[in-house]
């Protein structure tokens, strides 16, 4: 394994890890559905970051297609899951104000 590739992977993967932890921290500490949802999405972005970093194998080589495929579908699923959570939130709001 080329050390230059390793440094790039660790740098980007480590940043993804930091994003994940920041999101986790917010998710635990802050109240309110919207804040928790944003925190969850930040966590998800961190995970995608790590996966893309793992897939990197130097500029000359094709990246590993498997993590890329996971991230692609993951993004779309995360968006629709967030939309579902927001719909739940709206429904709860309506119930509280009824």
């Amino acid at each position: 394994m080329d050390s230059e590739i390793l440094i790039t992977q660790v740098l980007y993967g480590g940043l993804g890890l930091v994003l994940f932890l920041l999101g986790l921290w917010s998710f635990i500490v802050h109240d309110g559905l919207s804040r928790k949802l944003i925190a969850l999405n930040v966590m998800g972005s961190g995970v995608f970051h790590v996966l893309v970093a793992i897939a990197y194998r130097g500029l000359e080589q094709t990246p590993d297609p498997v993590p890329h495929a996971l991230v692609l579908t993951g993004i779309v699923v995360a968006v629709s899951a967030t939309a579902l959570a927001l719909a739940f939130g709206r429904r709860l709001e309506e119930r509280d104000h009824a």
Binding site: L17, W25, P63, V66, A69, L72, S80, A81, A87, R90
Partner: protein, 225 residues
């Protein structure tokens, strides 16, 4: 337990988890391993019916997983529709945004179609194209279009289910030919993948746009879902 102590505990736990995950990441990246999945996948790409490795993985090697992902999207939309009617449309915007949207939306649709077609050979495919179609719907909704440019509800139902439906039908077709579920015969793999991707693109685009509207299209509402 006081709240400051609890907060300190959470901090300690998050940092400890971070340290552990960091070590795991480092160990996984620098550790010596045997043949990675990437090599196995890349060797098999010529057999898959798509020359773009990511598309091969998504639609062929991991086809079953992608099928279930489309089912997850459909389920999310059903959940959203079950919970509440769609939000009220945005008020009509100013002249500038109206004109901008008139330019942007056709571009998004053309770019989406291109991404769908190019997905077989280069980066692109159903999920990217679907995201652009969804973005076109979101843009229209933000510009005050009441349904985000989406068709009537019966058509929406058809489009939302088409991805999962076509995927399953193709899988069953492979079984009729005496192969396994979603084991495409090599001769027609390309066309099977393109058919599935087209249906999946329409599904994903519609589901994302409808999810943004945030509820059941209440026009022409019948007996629930």
């Amino acid at each position: 337990m006081s709240s400051s102590l609890l907060s300190l505990l959470v901090k300690v736990l998050v940092v400890a988890l971070g340290a552990f995950l960091g070590w795991a990441l480092w160990d996984g990246l620098s550790g010596h391993s045997g043949v990675r999945l990437a090599e196995i996948a890349l060797v098999q790409v010529p057999e898959s019916g798509a020359s773009n490795p990511v598309t091969s993985v998504l639609l062929n090697f991991r086809g079953y997983d992608t099928l279930l992902e489309l089912a997850v999207l459909l389920t999310a939309l059903l959940g959203i529709w079950s919970l509440c009617p769609a939000a009220l449309p945005y008020p009509p915007p100013g002249l500038l945004l109206t004109n901008l949207v008139g330019w942007v939306v056709p571009m998004l649709i053309i770019a989406g179609g291109y991404l769908l077609w190019v997905g077989g050979q280069a980066p692109g495919g159903a999920f990217q194209a679907g995201a652009l179609f969804g973005a076109a719907g979101v843009t229209l909704a933000l510009a005050g279009h009441p349904t985000g440019g989406l068709p009537a509800e019966s058509h929406q139902r058809l489009l939302a289910t088409s991805g999962t439906l076509v995927f399953v039908l193709m899988g069953l077709g492979c079984m009729l030919l005496g192969l396994g579920f979603l084991t495409y015969p090599k001769a027609i793999a390309k066309w099977l993948i393109l058919t599935i991707e087209t249906a999946a693109t329409l599904s994903i685009g519609l589901i994302l746009a409808a999810a943004f509207l945030g509820g059941h299209p209440s026009a022409g509402r019948s007996h629930g879902l």
